[in-house]
Symmetry: C2
Subunit: 129 residues, 2 copies
């Protein structure tokens, strides 16, 4: 497990989007965009069980999270690690993230099975052009 | 090979950054940020031979390219495919990309072995919140 450098903490704590990469069944990469928050040295995001990345992470928990600075995407941190997932039946995390990113509650569609994805860092790269 | 939908073309042709995911030697994902341009249905970016992603793509050409809209990262396209790499001894591509993204020539550090990475799409996902 790796500690997050101060610069990575700043990027995650601000209202910056993250791109997450997971491994497809055929071993190739898959990417998508998520909202993130930090819990100590871990990164949290929310997904739903019908998403490709959920199935990928069930099969292989390895993940890379790249957080870019809004307005200057060449300033970023890449956090590689593994994901631990837990059910979020009340959808608390996505609501918390919606408040962080939009300032409002999340308009939850019915029937979604929300999941908390906790990324435990193993290796961190901070990149500043 | 997949054709790029119009929306993916728009995202690539504009001055949007891309996150690329490659496969590490251990099979896990690695991500980084690049400038991109389009050549027909292919996506081009520049890298150097000392970079992690270059070594990864030599060993496994599978790649995912995610292009987000500046200012609204929840509007994006993911292009999965494979990379074909060719040497770029005159560094033409990075110079062309620098003009696209910064309006100026690229200040090329000495000794870099520049490479053109051509991504040939196999599968495209367009996501708009």
């Amino acid at each position: 497990m790796a500690a997050l450098p101060e610069r990575a903490r700043e990027l995650i704590d601000a209202r910056n989007f993250a791109t997450v990469a997971t491994i497809q069944p055929d071993g190739g990469p898959q990417t998508s965009v998520v909202w993130v928050k930090r819990d100590g040295d871990d990164i949290l995001f929310s997904t739903i069980k019908s998403r490709r990345k959920y199935a990928n992470l069930v099969a292989d928990p390895r993940i890379s999270v790249l957080v870019t600075e809004a307005g200057d995407a060449y300033r970023y941190a890449e956090i590689r690690g593994h994901a631990v997932m837990t059910d979020d039946p009340r959808a608390d995390l996505i609501d918390e993230l919606a408040h962080k990113y939009t300032g409002a509650a999340f308009d939850l569609p019915p029937g979604q099975q929300r999941v908390v994805v906790r990324v435990i860092p193993a290796h961190v790269v901070v990149y500043e052009e």
